[in-house]
Symmetry: none
Subunit: 258 residues, 2 copies
């Protein structure tokens, strides 16, 4: 878990609006374009999960013209789970919402919820997939909800920089329109992604030992379905603790972290 | 006045939303990017005032990938006055509204007015200046109003394609407002309340037998908290079935309905 962001990056997330996470970006020039688009909308915290080209990447810096600081401060992660571990509300972008049961929001609707979260100092993020393929289903499964940009159905393709631009633009517009809507109970903090991941690890370990995931070929799908259920529930830290207790109680033994 | 658009193009303007006018664009690649952005937002009528490179421009076509038809149908004009002669409502884009006494609108505010105009069959247009210099004061003077995109004042520079993109995006959003934000996959039916109640009964019975709800005075609150979690998850029938399996597997025995 070397990628688990510490208090420093949490602090930046608090100050700078949502974190932008690029998963397996193929071209440095697109990372630079994303950095420019972020800065246009007043965003500054960029995280990269296994970029294809070596990092640091001079092409990304060249393409960032004027937004170099965003590229230079970008953090690298090995997995998406690590990149979002400290965040409380995460959206995954997809061109076409696939057969995953998750709420789908437009960027405009999402920024309202994110403004409310961010104003309480809770980290939010938006995850963008590789240029050609987009996020895979498992990666989408780690997010709370899906972000989809309504565009001409006959021509909806956006490049990475444009997709980041439209989100950053909406983020900025929401800031100048004023009052964020508050729909979350401040006294009950949302679980972090790391807390949620630990709960799922506990549950999956006990289910593995109980022989639940059979036939083994279906395990990935079954795991994803379970993750979707608990991700969608918007759990609080207290609820995650309760569910650990539920699993421990049903399994009849305490959990030993792997 | 050879460029004065005839009834044919007026007709297209009526059908396809606002006309996009690029004044003295420097690079074909940017014309192509503008065409793509237009099509993303459902716009199709492009007019060019004295592009710097010869026309037709193979670089514009190459950059338009998929939006070739927009580039091919573009019309050329010698002056901005000719390019907007048939339009009724024209916005000039500027990065910084200069010392011109004209109303200034955001793209979001402008598209509302333009939708009303367009629905009456009256032509509208948005004028973008050259990449480096923008529109000159005389050109801005020909427009009814100024369009200015609110962006991070510390980094507000947009390239031509992005500027067109943000306008076309706003145009498209104004056309689809009222579409529900939250969509679920129709093929996966939501669990009935009876199915959910049976799942909770199963879980609570096993937790009772495992001695989870202690001290007993706290049982009602603990039960309510668990119910909240699973109610909030918007479970499907299939997911309820899976969760029955999870509880059965962890408890190590099949459920017998009371």
């Amino acid at each position: 878990m070397g990628g688990l962001a510490g208090s420093d990056s949490t602090q930046r997330a608090r100050l700078g609006g949502p974190v932008i996470v690029l998963v397996r970006p193929q071209l440095g020039v697109n990372i630079g374009a994303a950095a420019r688009a972020m800065l246009n909308g007043g965003l500054s915290e960029l995280r990269l999960v296994r970029p294809r080209e070596p990092w640091p990447n001079p092409r990304a810096l060249a393409a960032a013209s004027g937004a170099d600081a965003v590229v230079e401060a970008a953090r690298l992660y090995q997995t998406l789970a690590e990149a979002i571990a400290d965040l409380r509300l995460v959206y995954a972008t997809t061109a076409r919402p696939r057969d995953i049961v998750k709420p789908v929001f437009t960027p405009r609707a999402a920024v309202a919820a994110m403004r409310a979260f961010a104003s309480d100092g809770r980290g939010c993020g938006v995850v963008f997939g590789p240029e050609r393929t987009g996020l895979d289903n498992e990666e989408v499964g780690l997010a709370d909800a899906v972000l989809s940009v309504p565009l001409n159905p006959a021509y909806a393709s956006l490049n990475l920089g444009q997709a980041v631009m439209l989100f950053a633009y909406e983020w900025f517009q929401a800031g100048i329109e004023g009052v964020p809507r508050r729909r979350f109970d401040r006294r009950k903090p949302a679980a972090s992604k790391a807390e949620l991941a630990a709960l799922l690890a506990h549950l999956e370990q006990e289910l593995d030992d109980a022989g639940f995931f059979l036939p083994v070929a279906k395990r990935p799908l079954m795991v994803r379905n379970l993750r979707n259920v608990f991700t969608r529930a918007d759990l609080t830290t207290q609820e995650v603790r309760t569910l650990h207790g539920v699993v421990t109680s049903l399994a009849g033994r305490p959990w030993r972290r792997p």
